[in-house]
Amino acid sequence: MKFLSIISRVFCAVVAFCAFTASVLAEDKLPIVRVNVTTQSWDFIRPWGKRQPVTRRAIGAVLPGPRILVAGELVANSTYLEFEAADGGRKVPATVDVVDYEANLALLKTDDPDFLKGLPQLDLTESAIGDQLNIWQLENNGRLLVTNGPMTTAEMSPYPIDGQFLIYRMTTQIQGRDSSFTLPVARGGKLTGILMSYDNQSNNANIIPAPVIQHFLKDAADGQYDGFPRAGYGFSATRDPALRRYAKIPADATGGIYITEVMKGGPAEAAGLQKADILLAADQFAVDQDGNFADPTYGKISLGHYLSTRHLVGDIVKFRLLRGGEEKTIDVKLARKDPSTYVSDPYIIDKAPRFYIVGGLLLQELSREWLRSFGNDWVRRGPANAVYADRFQLELFPNGPKKLVYMTHVLPTDATVGYEELNNLRVVKINGVELQSLDDVPKALEKPVNGFHKIEFDDDPRTIFLDAKEVEQTNRAVKMQYRLPAIMHLE
């Protein structure tokens, strides 16, 4: 009996698989295309140059439009995109229609009206833990290669470029076919996610899930992409009974989180949320001691999912709070914080780094992208003062400046004798003008002090001078000597 039941289960699985393959093949064409991407990132150490180009292949999902959906990371800093028909041969140039590097999703299109014509288009479906998911790859001959496995996990997880969102996870072995693991993940012939990363040691596959894709598509549909909103607060769990007593949480209450930080200028601040408030509920969802709510599909999951993914920018969420033991309700109008509004940009993609060379001194703005060029261990290997400024920017610079200008290094010339070894110093003022960003530099240089440019740092050697009359000549010399295409880029 036991033996039989095993046989029958295996049989079932085979049947299911055949049925699915048959349904796809029945249409003769697959709802996927190959996406060939060439990317070339900027060199933030030598900001006038780009690193060597890299080409990768991925599989994109055909969605209504028709548009092709891939992971956003794939097209970051792309120089050339191309679709290639699944059944071989034909290639057409493609472009990015909408991209969200935080949610890690991109919609691609082509101007060739015939290329995607006739291809089946995928619908979206959410999946739950235990569901069988199918990862789609292509054989060289254009046949579909399917890897099946059960979904094991749905949780909030850091995304590769910035932010935290829901992921689906499955543990399964995937063949390394193309040079990327951006692959469609399906269930029952519908799209349920895009594979975002795969670790061939642990065999863990992290998938951008349907709810995140749904938000992205819905947001993009009106032609104006707003992104994923946030409320803008930090919190601590309230499991600690001493903290609960101190925060005057009633003994019969079970949940609630302690607000530790309210982001300046953020939606929560605008709604009047305060540090030390206890957040009890968002709309109809109670918040537990760890900051989770009971999602109808995924069960206990961080409230961040409800705020960022289940809502669009501009939506209003009701927060129920405890303040000093009294209950209170506030309306939080969700908004997104654009990465460029941070003092130190969390990422800079598809944009050339800004820089300004004055008399051989290379000025740049502090950004995470620049710090990352110190290597994976940039937290330890990067300049301590810059790493600290980046990491604690909200705490250190609540009232600006807009950006921090650093003199990252010196391109030695005759005029910089004695300055060669200076590097990674924050420039606070030039000719007495406090710098709000690199944009202030040209203006500040218009007014030299007694014929000299006075450059002030927040650290040793505090002040250096350049002869204002010599600067232009030095700039020309630097440009020639170091073969630079330009001495500035401020766009």
């Binding site: 600690d240 101190y246 937290v379 600290y388 990491r391 004695g418 650290d459 040793d460 001078f465 002869d467």
Partner: protein, 459 residues
Amino acid sequence: MAQEFNYRVPWLPGPQGGGSGTGWVVGEHRLMTNAHVVSNARLLTVEKENDPKKYVATIEFIAHDCDLAVLKVADPQFWKDTKVLPLGEVPEIESSVAVFGYPIGGDRLSVTHGVVSRIDFRTYSHSVMDSHLCIQIDAAINPGNSGGPVLQDGKVVGVAFQGFSGDVAQNVGYMIPMPVVKHMLKDVSDGSYDRYMDLSIGTFSLQNPAHRRALGLPDDDKGVVVTTVSSASVCAEKLKVGDVLLKIDGVDIESDGMVQLNGERVMMAEVAERKYKGDQVKFDLLRDGKPQQETITFNRAWPYTQQANSYEPPRYIVFGGLLFQPLNRNLMATYQFASPRILYTFTRFVEDELYKDRDEAIILTALLPDPLNSYLDEFREGIVKTVDGKQVRNLKELSAALAEQKDDYVLEFEGVGRPLVLHRADVEAARERIRKRYNVLREEYLGEDAPAATASTTK
């Protein structure tokens, strides 16, 4: 016999170990050796050649900042037939010297010869924080040589003290030269060691022509500009950022910060190096273009030594199973903190004058698990900011704050938005339990001396 300290279990006497070095007779019934040979020593014995007896020695003075120590041996028998070695001067480059000692143990004297290769300023690795004059020789210096005399023409010209491991460089040994040895001996002649004096200022070279013109200086390669004056420095309120220092004690300061001293070109800091507590130094300077003189009195050594290796027993407090320890180099080495806040606080403590808020950063380094602290893990590696709203400057203040009788202790940590609340009754109920369970032999050690002097209380 030495005993290392254990910063993870600071109440435990650490593991015992032994080591040996070399010493030489520096004066009447006194031996000199390296500080690193006798640091953390619990039992110190000295042996003489051709004498089977081991004599007990004691440390009379130890100078961690220049890696020297003076030892006493009480037994007069030891001193029979010993001879005080005369002290020489700085040897010439390329002259030959002989290194005496007991490398890699052994009880027969070993002598190696070498040539003076280089004389410069170098970090003394015993403390890591201090740099002094140092002489490089091409005779190998091995463990056991440490503290031994280096002789030339029958006089001591150096004390062997550090080398390189074979895979970095070969035939490179370092000795502490006589100016440093004599400085130490003179410093202790009043019965106590005051440490090296330091200007604690930052200067920048004035080699750039535009920089010189902008400051109205002639093209004579003289002078450096003051870029930092620590508020805890002996120069505070005497020197100002932007001052151009032209002469130190009447000697010209060159534009790269070097001075000619006794016919040698040395860093300006060397002038301060040769001073003692109570001495003065005179600067000729330009302030806002006008010539001026300032006299600085070295009335104390630099107070913040967290970045130097410590050879004192670790200080700590255990309260409610929470282990609080002041941040220093040893703690960094033990815990390998990854917290950017701790890394910043450690590396920039002096530069960014973080000592204005506190004498030392107190870290919650570990939790001894107990029901009392099972929800407090997020505070691990936190830096204590306040107790009940009051700033805590050092470990003693923390101890005093936690000794106050009150219902709740509310601790705030740097960058943590929620307070750590401990109910006194709970702490007291848990106290014996935690002490027994984790064998906490002593609940706090605050050090024998007063905490580092604060910038505000010292004139």
